[in-house]
């Protein structure tokens, strides 16, 4: 009997702890959702219970967001930036990752670690000189400055990620293709790339989410509303004077968060095996 009680108590505290963690991580997003659906009189009344609707829910904030602000434009900007950065990154990182994975000896190892370290060079160290470079190229206040600069961290990141995947791919596949008459380049192009579709897809997804998550460079380079990507626009452009439009801000934050959250969950395991590939044997 005592064992049953102890076991029940153990189960309750286990699920209690799990619930606590879920509340801790998910509550701010629940808060975004409920704020975005509440009418203003409901939001700005301290006597109301804030966790649920005290008046009828409304889509007014979403309508305002799309009709009265540049929100749709920011979505489009983010899409253009994301797609362009993905294209640049994949063209540079797929061959680089492959080459570094197949390089033997000290050079390959040193280059690999060098690439990894570049990913760790923080934006807050580089934003001053980069802002001058961007200005000299005539790209200040343009979203194309972000297309130019974002590959500085997405290329190292994807090269590192893809290096891990290519290392796991048996070299015999290429050798077989070469024996069958392919050049080395042909083996890479006709065998390795088609076989690494899932790895490249992972790189594409994470490059895209990295461009959505970036904030520092966007904040530094872009000040005109029409050129902002979505993260920057929602975080800085929905405040008029000193007044925060919380309903609209939360609606925008929620819309921008959803695709990233889904992508991370779908590709998480590949991501982890990629970045830790060198550390766990």
């Amino acid at each position: 009997m005592q064992r049953v009680i102890a076991k029940t108590f153990g189960e309750i505290s286990f699920y209690g702890a799990v619930a606590l963690f879920v509340v801790m991580t998910a509550f701010p997003f629940y808060w975004m959702l409920i704020t975005s659906l509440k009418s203003n009189p409901d939001l700005y009344n301290v006597t109301n219970i804030p966790f649920w609707f005290n008046e009828a829910p409304t889509l007014e904030h979403y309508r305002y967001l799309f009709e009265q602000t540049m929100f749709a434009r920011w979505l489009l900007n983010s899409l253009i930036i994301g797609v362009s950065v993905v294209a640049i990154t994949i063209v540079a990182a797929v061959p680089a990752g492959y080459s570094l994975a197949r390089m033997t000896g000290r050079t390959g190892e040193a280059l690999g670690i060098g690439i990894f370290l570049t990913y760790l060079v923080p934006p807050t160290l580089l934003f001053l000189p980069l802002s001058r470079i961007v200005a000299n190229l005539g790209l200040q206040n343009s979203m194309w400055s972000l297309v130019l600069v974002y590959p500085t961290f997405t290329i190292p990141f994807c090269t590192w990620l893809l290096m891990g995947f290519f290392k796991a791919m048996p070299v015999e596949i290429e050798e077989a293709a070469i024996v069958d008459g392919c050049s080395l380049f042909g083996a890479f192009f006709r065998m390795v790339i088609p076989l690494s579709g899932p790895a490249i897809l992972t790189a594409v997804i994470f490059t895209f989410t990295l461009t959505l998550q970036e904030f520092v460079y966007a904040l530094t380079f872009i000040s005109s509303t029409a050129q902002k990507p979505i993260t920057l626009g929602v975080a800085t452009d929905l405040v008029r004077g000193d007044i925060f439009f919380w309903g609209e801000i939360m609606a925008g934050a929620l819309i921008a968060s959803i695709p990233v959250a889904i992508a991370y969950n779908l590709f998480l395991d590949r991501f982890i095996s990629g970045i830790t590939g060198g550390a766990v044997k």
């Binding site: 963690f21 160290l125 470079i133 590959p151 500085t152 919380w246 801000i249 982890i272 830790t276 766990v280």
Partner: protein
């Protein structure tokens, strides 16, 4: 002898010598990535170093060399010293909190239970969602008047509306807030890293330890922890580097305030170098990140390598 099929002679490409030689092709393959990084990371880095020893501002873009004068001025500035202290507090406070929460969360998620996938998906959220957007949500939760946290504390009878804390308006509370938000953002990453490590430990090692009489704590801290240290080290590199150089959480939640109480290096460099346009001093402030980054990265890399042998 008659051959059954004529061998097809393929036209030999002029580029055959490139296409076939591994070392040539290998160099060509890495070249674009390396070039991009050299031009837009290496070159700006050198520029940043040069700005810091020049008198460059956006109003007077001169390359005049003035030695270490910028650094001397910065070090004698009390606001900078406060910023430096804040940066360490912010980094190590949030990393410590994040690691503790991460280890605990990983222990919970290790055990299979119904709905684990959904729970994992929800727990990953703070790390996946752009931190700028999550920071804005937190800012709303810390609002001086409509804070949901204060509302709950009042409803529970812990505080009254009259003495409800102004989370982002009080220097100590504001520091606590940015630390908590940053720990909140990083601990799901720590969970994921711990889980990846723990599941990579072979079950027979754990079984052998159990047979030899190792209990829960001994298995955890003397068997599993040493084995997963390399992967935890990678997680820590990411965590420390990105927190030490962070700008967005502080910028959006407190804007460095109240009265510089939450100003950190990245934020101060932005304020001085971009907002005020004093590029040389801003660059010098940012360069103060470098020694710490070097120590962390070199220490961790040496550690990882030693583990592998």
């Amino acid at each position: 002898m008659v051959s059954i099929a004529e061998p097809i002679t393929k036209p030999v490409s002029r580029f055959r010598f490139i296409m076939d030689r591994r070392e040539v092709l290998g160099s060509i393959f890495v070249a674009p990535a390396i070039l991009y990084v050299l031009l837009l990371v290496g070159l700006p880095f050198l520029l940043a170093v040069y700005y810091s020893i020049s008198a460059y501002t956006i109003y007077n873009p001169t390359w005049r060399f003035i030695g270490l004068a910028n650094f001397e001025q910065i070090v004698s500035d009390p606001v900078f010293l406060e910023t430096l202290g804040n940066t360490f507090l912010f980094t190590f406070g949030s990393q410590f909190l994040g690691l503790v929460l991460g280890k605990f969360g990983a222990l919970l998620l290790l055990r299979p239970f119904p709905g684990r996938r959904i729970v994992r998906a929800l727990i990953i959220l703070p790390w996946a969602v752009p931190i700028a957007l999550a920071s804005v949500a937190w800012e709303w939760m810390f609002d001086s008047l409509y804070s949901v946290i204060n509302w709950s504390l009042i409803a529970l009878g812990i505080i009254t509306r009259a003495d409800a804390p102004n989370w982002l308006g009080n220097p100590h509370l504001a520091m606590l807030c940015v630390i908590v938000v940053n720990a909140w953002r990083f601990f799901p990453f720590a969970i994921v890293i711990f889980l990846a490590g723990i599941t990579s430990v072979p079950q027979d090692v754990i079984d052998a330890a159990t047979v030899d009489g190792a209990g829960f704590w001994r298995r955890n801290y003397q068997i599993i922890l040493p084995m997963i240290l390399p992967i935890v080290a990678i997680g820590l590199i990411f965590g420390i580097v990105f927190t030490f150089t962070d700008l967005s959480v502080v910028y959006l939640l407190t804007n460095g305030g109240p009265v510089n109480a939450t100003s950190v290096l990245g934020f101060r460099g932005f304020q001085v170098g971009i907002v005020s346009g004093d590029v040389s001093h801003g660059a010098a402030i940012s360069l103060f990140m470098l020694p710490v980054l070097f120590i962390v990265v070199i220490g961790m890399l040496r550690f990882i390598r030693r583990r592998e042998i």
